[in-house]
Each structure stands twice: as C-alpha cells, then as structure tokens.
C-alpha cells in the first residue's frame, strides 16, 4: 500500500470520526479578527492568539480552503487572508508598507464574488472593501495588528465569524469557479484507480520542520518544478495523475497528522525527518501507545509510568502478543510510520513503514532488548527514544541539531523494520568516543552492542551463541572485548593509587588503545606497574585483587601469539573494546572474603556522577 493511498484511506476514517475538514475548507492559523459594523466600518480588533505562553501563539480555525498561490496575479483567499491582501498593508523589515496591488486583488475578487449577496455580514465586508484605504491603517483601531498575520472578519454584535455565516457556507460549498473547464484533464487516478479530473498542483504540506520554510508556507509532497523531473512530455500533475478529490484528501490528512503537538506526530524530528504515524483503527488508542513507546525524549520523572512502560516492553519482547499486554488494542491493526524531510522546496520521504501493530510492537521491544546493557547507563529511563540515543552517542556537543540526518533516518528504519542497524552508527559512536565523549556513561556501549548483536544475528529474532554479552562475561572470546577489560583494570589501578587526577589514562589513551593496542598498551602496562607498586604498599588487599584480574584477562589474550597484542583493531573489535571497558569498569572485584573493590565508591571519589 503506497503512502498516498494509505493517507487517502485514513481521510475517510477521520471523516467518520468528524476530525477533519471537508472539501473546500482547511485549518489555518490566525492572529486577528477585524470586527465590522453593518456599514463596513472597522470598529474593533480582536486578538485571537493564545496569550498564555511567553510568546503569543496563533490559533487554528477552520476557514475556506487555502491553496498555493503563484503567477502574476496571485489569487486571494475567500473571506480571510493575510494583512497585505485583506488590509493592504504588509511587513517591510520591522515596519509597514502599503500593498495596494494585493489589496486590489482581494477587493476585486470579493466584490465580484459577493456582488449578489444580501446577507448583512457579507454586505458589511463589501462596504468595508469599498471604503477602506490602506493609508488609514495607522490611525485606525487596527494598528495593533502584527504585519502579515492572517485576518478574518466578524460582524459587530455577531458571535460567529463571517465565513461561518450560513450565506458564506453556501458560497464555499458551491465551489470556486476560478478554473475553467478547459483546464480539466481527465485521467486515471493513481490513488483510487478511477477516471477523474487530474489535480495540477498538489496540496501544500505544512508543519514539516525545516530550516528555511518556503515562503508560501508548506512544501509539496508531489511536485515537478523542473523539466528534468517530468517524463513523456507531461506537465505538472499529469506526471503523477491524481484526481482532485484524492489529492485533497491525502493532503488534508497529512496536514492533520502533522499538526504540531498532535497525537500522531513525534514531538521532535528524528535527524531532519518529521515523523508521523497512524493506525488504521476507529479510535486513537494505538496512536497514543506508539507515541508513548516511540517518544519519551526526556527521562520520565514519573517512576511508576517508567516501570509500567518497561514491563509492557519486556512482556512483548518475551513473545507475548500486544493484545495480551494491552487488551484494548487489536494486534492486527495496520500501522503506518512516515518520516518526511525537506529537500530544497520539496518534501522527500525519509522512511515509510507499514505493518501490523503487533509486528511494530515486537520490533520496538526487540530494539530495546538489544540495547540493554548491564549496568543500565546513566539517565537511561525506561525506553529512550531514538532521538535520545542518537543525541547521546553521535551528536557533537549533544545537540539535536548535530545528529547526522541520514544516519537518523536509517536507524529509525532499522528500529521499526527490525533490520540491522547501519554500520555508520557504530563508527559514529566510536568517533564520539575517540573525540572525548565519556565511555563510562554506557550510552555508547549500549548502542554499539545493539549494532554488533544485530550484525551477527542471522535472524533478528533470537539471541545467538557467542554474541556480544549484555553484562560482564569474563570468557567472552573477543580480543577487543578483553583489551577493553584490561584497559579498565589499569585505569582502576591508577585510581586506586592516585585517587582523582586531572588526566586519567582513559583521557589520554582511550582512543589510541582501542584503535591500535600494540603501540599503546606497553605504555599503559609500564605506567600500571608503578600504580600497582603504590597500591601494594598502601592497600595490599586491593593490589592482589587487581593483579588477579589482570592475570585472568591476560590468559584470554595470550593465545593470539606470536604477538599477543594486535597491531590494530577492526571497527567491530573497537566496538567490543568499548563494551568490555564499560562492563569491566562497573564490575566489583572480590575474593569472596573480606577484600572487595566496589566501583561505585571509587566512582564517587572521581565525581563522575555529575557526568551525564
């Protein structure tokens, strides 16, 4: 089922629920309403914005549909428009400028279309347009209006807005006869498979996060803005024949899903992709569930919620059907996830997945299962979102803006598709470690383990023998892993000997030790002897514990003779190194009697609890 078809089908479902605007109408954001007297005098200005927050926020209203404007005489909207059209004043820098041309278009259009109307509200607008002078704006009661905000109208003493009056509704539903019938091209519609008039310009999709939003507000999902994009001498919409009705329906649905803060959209884009999702269900319970499972950008404060979420996931991961965990959800409901990112003035599909809800739930649970590492990384929460993972392991300065966009899309696809994670995720995490991110937080180790585990697995469902362990496994047969452990023990020796120092061996050598062990480990070993000597004097019990651990690790490395230390490690082994380091670092050493080293105490000594 292709994207457009799925969207179009969802329209009918939303329409049944009464949650979406009907043909001829659309949701638009408004700042102000101009109140007109019956004679067309502007008597007051009404602020429609939401003033509760720090900044005033425009609110959405259902109004006669907007469309993409182009050409030398861009047409105005019906009964509303931004100030440059409706009032003849637009923004210029921080000030105002008069825009007689656009206002002329607005005036002409409305005087024409409303010429035979006798409704007092519409008459008031006609009279207003006949008498209004843009130059009078500064002195009028409207001067508080923000330049280029959308303006609607209302008759003084009325509660409903002008476009909500019965007469106006009739006009809107009668349709706009702007387009002549000659423009109509009939063809097969790729969404419905019927013969119908073909849409020339597809609807603008608004709400996709973009660095430079296009001036008209909204990108097109389907567009042909250059010759090279067309084929077989077709123009515009004919290249992807879509009937007018179907185009309206998919556009409206997508815009509805993309509503900011809505239940069908992730609050933050993944990389540069804005993600929407919807279930083919009569209600929105499945949507809410996924928002919960996929979202969670911050570590949840509410401990009980966190625990509930984790329990749900673990139950699903252990093979239960989603309906056993959450009985109100039908597991066979089809679920769609769409990631859109802007590319120039167009929209591109970063990923598109569609499957049953049960399948998605299992993959998500599997994803979190593969990510699990003991001990749990700092500030992990119940189930960190993909965004949260990426920002902690791949982004420079932990800034959401620095997540590599292409990688983010691929990871998202791997999570939802249950496929291998991209290898670039592994290298990105290793690069961050080498550049100085702390390997002690565990986030990198978790991500790296997930990549490695899936990489080796033939079938993504079941764990296999010999895969990278979740918690410390002393006999894990990988030289990278063992070297990582070795490194952690030498660091422990240093800490035991010197306490807190400015530059630990981790700060100095972690990157080099994981990439080229043969050239760095001799240095570390030599330094380690000095540290051990000091520990032996001060805390002989600890020293024996550390030495025993070193011996044990060396017994795993030795067989790689003639040289026990590899000259360089592959990317995957470097990943194992980071994991081995993390495991060993968190392990407490004990000889079963009275001697033991608890890493947590040493942790406090180092004050690393502050690090996130």
């Amino acid at each position: 089922m292709t994207i457009l078809q799925a969207l179009e089908r969802h329209y009918h479902r939303l329409a049944e629920r009464g949650e979406i605007s009907s043909p001829g109408w659309s949701r638009e954001k408004f700042g102000f309403c101009v109140v007109l007297s019956r004679d067309g005098e502007p008597v007051a200005m009404e602020d429609l914005r939401d003033l509760l927050g720090k900044k005033p926020v425009n609110r959405e209203f259902t109004v006669p549909a907007s469309f993409k404007r182009s050409g030398k005489r861009p047409p105005p909207f019906f009964l509303w428009d931004k100030t440059s059209y409706s009032l003849g004043v637009g923004a210029e820098g921080k000030g105002w400028k008069e825009t007689p041309f656009q206002h002329g278009l607005f005036k002409e259009y409305h005087l024409n279309r409303l010429s035979r109307e006798e409704d007092p509200g519409l008459l008031a607008l006609v009279r207003f347009l006949q008498t209004w002078e843009p130059s009078a704006f500064r002195e009028s009661c409207l001067k508080e209006i923000v330049p280029d905000a959308n303006i609607m109208f209302r008759l003084d003493g009325d509660r409903e807005y002008l476009h909500e009056r019965a007469a106006a509704r009739r006009l809107v539903e009668a349709g706009n006869d702007n387009e002549t019938d000659q423009d109509q091209q009939v063809g097969w519609c790729l969404i419905t498979g019927e013969q119908a008039p073909i849409e020339k310009l597809h609807p603008a999709i608004k709400g996709v996060a973009a660095n430079n939003p296009p001036p008209g507000g909204g990108h097109s999902l389907v567009s042909f803005n250059l010759d090279a994009f067309t084929s077989l001498c077709k123009t515009q919409g004919a290249n992807a024949p879509t009937s007018k009705g179907a185009a309206f329906r998919y556009g409206t649905t997508l815009n509805h899903l993309l509503t900011r803060g809505g239940p069908n959209r992730l609050p933050h884009p993944i990389g540069d992709a804005t993600v929407v999702f919807w279930a083919e269900a009569g209600d929105d319970q499945a949507d809410a569930l996924f928002a919960n499972w996929l979202g969670g950008d911050t570590a949840d404060d509410d401990a009980s919620e966190t625990r509930k979420l984790r329990e749900q996931m673990q139950a699903v991961a252990s093979g239960k059907r989603i309906s056993d965990v959450l009985p109100q959800i039908d597991p066979d409901t089809r679920f769609h996830v769409l990631g859109l990112s802007p590319n120039a003035a167009r929209l591109s599909v970063r990923f598109w997945l569609s499957d049953t809800i049960d399948a998605f739930a299992h993959r998500l649970a599997r994803h979190h299962e593969d990510l699990r590492i003991e001990p749990t990384p700092l500030n992990w929460g119940a189930a960190p979102s993909v965004n949260c993972l990426l920002v902690n392991t791949t982004a420079l300065q932990r800034d959401f803006k620095n997540i590599p966009p292409l990688l983010a899309g691929e990871v998202m696809r791997a999570v939802l598709g249950g496929t291998r994670y991209p290898l670039s995720l592994l290298s990105a995490a290793l690069i961050r470690l080498r550049a100085g991110d702390s390997p002690a937080t565990g986030w990198h180790a978790a991500v790296i383990r997930a990549v490695l585990v899936r990489l080796k697995r033939r079938h993504s469902e079941f764990p296999e023998e010999g895969e990278t362990p979740m918690s410390l496994k002393r006999d894990h047969d990988n030289v990278g892993y063992q070297l990582g452990r070795l490194f952690a023990v030498y660091e422990l020796a240093q800490r035991a000997a010197l306490g807190r120092v400015n530059a630990t061996i981790r700060d100095k050598y972690f990157g080099a030790a994981s990439a080229t062990p043969a050239s760095v480990f001799p240095l570390i070993v030599r330094g380690g002897q000095n540290h051990l000597a000091k520990v032996r004097k001060e805390k002989p019990g600890w020293a024996s514990l550390i030495e025993r651990e070193l011996e044990e690790i060396h017994s795993h490395i030795e067989p790689a003779a003639p040289r026990s230390l590899p000259r360089s490690l592959s990317l995957q082994d470097q990943g194992e190194f980071a994991i081995g380091y993390y495991h060993q670092r968190a392990a407490s050493l004990s000889n079963g009697k009275n001697e033991n080293i608890d890493p947590k105490e040493l942790e406090d000594l180092q004050g690393e609890g502050d690090e996130k």
Partner: protein, 222 residues
C-alpha cells in the same frame, strides 16, 4: 512522487517489460508480463544523489543538426545541479513470467517460434541490447533464463510476508493514447503478483500467445 523518488513496493510490470525488452525486442512483438514472483523481503533505503536539473532541449538539438556543430548543446552539471532524495528498494529478486504477442508490424518472416528461440538463446547467454536496470541506470539488473522445469531460485532470507495488497500500481504507459498511465490493483498472493490479463486488451488484441518464459532477475539496487 517524481522529484523525490519513492519506489513502489515491488517492481512494476512495465519495469519487468523493460528488462525483457533489453534482452530481445523487435517492433514485430510486444511483451506482456503475466506474473511476478517476489523472492525477497521488501526492504527500503533512502539515499541522496546529485543530478542534473535540466533536459536536453529538442529545439537546440535540431538547430545544432542544421548548423552541423554541437556548440551550445551541453548541459553543465555544476551549473544545473539538483540534489534529489530517493527511497529505493534494496536487495530485490524476482521471477518474471511473460509472453509476447505479434503486432501489426510483423512481416511474413516473423514467426513466434523465431522470436521465442531468439529470446531464449540471448537470455541463456546473458546477451542484452542494453544493460537492463530497475528504476534508473545506476541500479543495473542481472538476469538469467529459468527453464520451464527449473525450480524457483531460493534466496536467503526468504520472503516472509507472502500475502499483501499493494494498492493501485502502475501497470504501464499507454503510448498510443497520449502517454496515459494505466494502473492495476496489485495483490500478492503467496509471493506471486498476478497481472490481470484484462489490462492487455487495451493495447492490442493478441494474435498468438506464445509460450510463457520465466525469467529471473536478481537485480541489486545498490
């Protein structure tokens, strides 16, 4: 979604026809795809490429031919660059079942037997007029002939979801009628997409339906 390409879930019958035509085609015959077997799980990947934003102009080419020089014909890549994103299928393998019919252009020397043996010989030897591709030229397709009694090739991992409704899918372009696109309801049953024979009537009446020719094309779109 032409600019930012998004692939259909499986290859379209017209893409399959393109592969067959790359191996053997003459004006005397017309290929009809009957069935497409999907052999691998449907798997997507997104990528971005730098492409050129202009087409070679026909008018310029004509005037260049008159002048006898190629001056001014070229398109400079770095002046006309467009970055286009695409969501493409990866790791695909299909078996195409198809037959051909004779067209009005067939002369007395054209017989179905002649063309089928030409096709079989060429496909067996891996010959083609141009390297067939899936989507754009960068994604070259490999093919081999599957005899009537050969078993279906087995791939790992095998296709897991065997029944699926792909919705309306492009069947082909009706070149005779203003290059209009035709669509059909693509449904996969047990890994096989049946192309409805009714679609064929729109092109021409079958003169003689020749033997079906299975063909596998383990193309890798990478």
């Amino acid at each position: 979604m032409k600019v930012e390409r998004v692939s259909y879930d499986v290859m379209t019958p017209s893409a399959a026809r393109g592969i067959l035509e790359a191996i053997h085609w003459k004006p005397a015959i017309r290929w009809h795809v009957d069935r497409i077997h999907v052999l691998r799980p449907i798997c997507f990947q997104s990528l971005r490429r730098n492409e050129v934003g202009a087409k070679a102009s026909e008018a310029n080419a004509r005037s260049a031919m008159k002048r006898g020089t190629t001056e001014g014909l070229g398109i400079l890549v770095d002046e006309n660059r467009q970055q286009r994103a695409a969501l493409v299928l990866v790791d695909v393998a299909y078996v195409i079942e198809a037959h051909f019919s004779m067209t009005d252009k067939a002369g007395p020397e054209d017989t179905p037997a002649k063309h089928i043996s030409m096709f079989n010989r060429r496909a067996q030897q891996g010959q083609c007029f141009h390297r067939p591709c899936l989507g754009t030229r960068e994604f070259a397709a490999e093919f081999e002939l599957l005899g009537p009694d050969d078993p279906l090739p087995v791939y790992d991992p095998p296709l897991t979801e065997r029944d699926r409704d792909f919705g309306w899918m492009l069947h082909d372009i009706d070149f005779a009628r203003g290059n209009e696109s035709r669509f059909f309801r693509a449904q996969m049953m047990d890994g096989v997409i049946e192309v409805p024979p009714s679609m064929r009537r729109r092109w021409c009446s079958d003169h003689s339906a020749s033997a079906g020719t299975p063909l596998s094309s383990p193309g890798r779109a990478r």
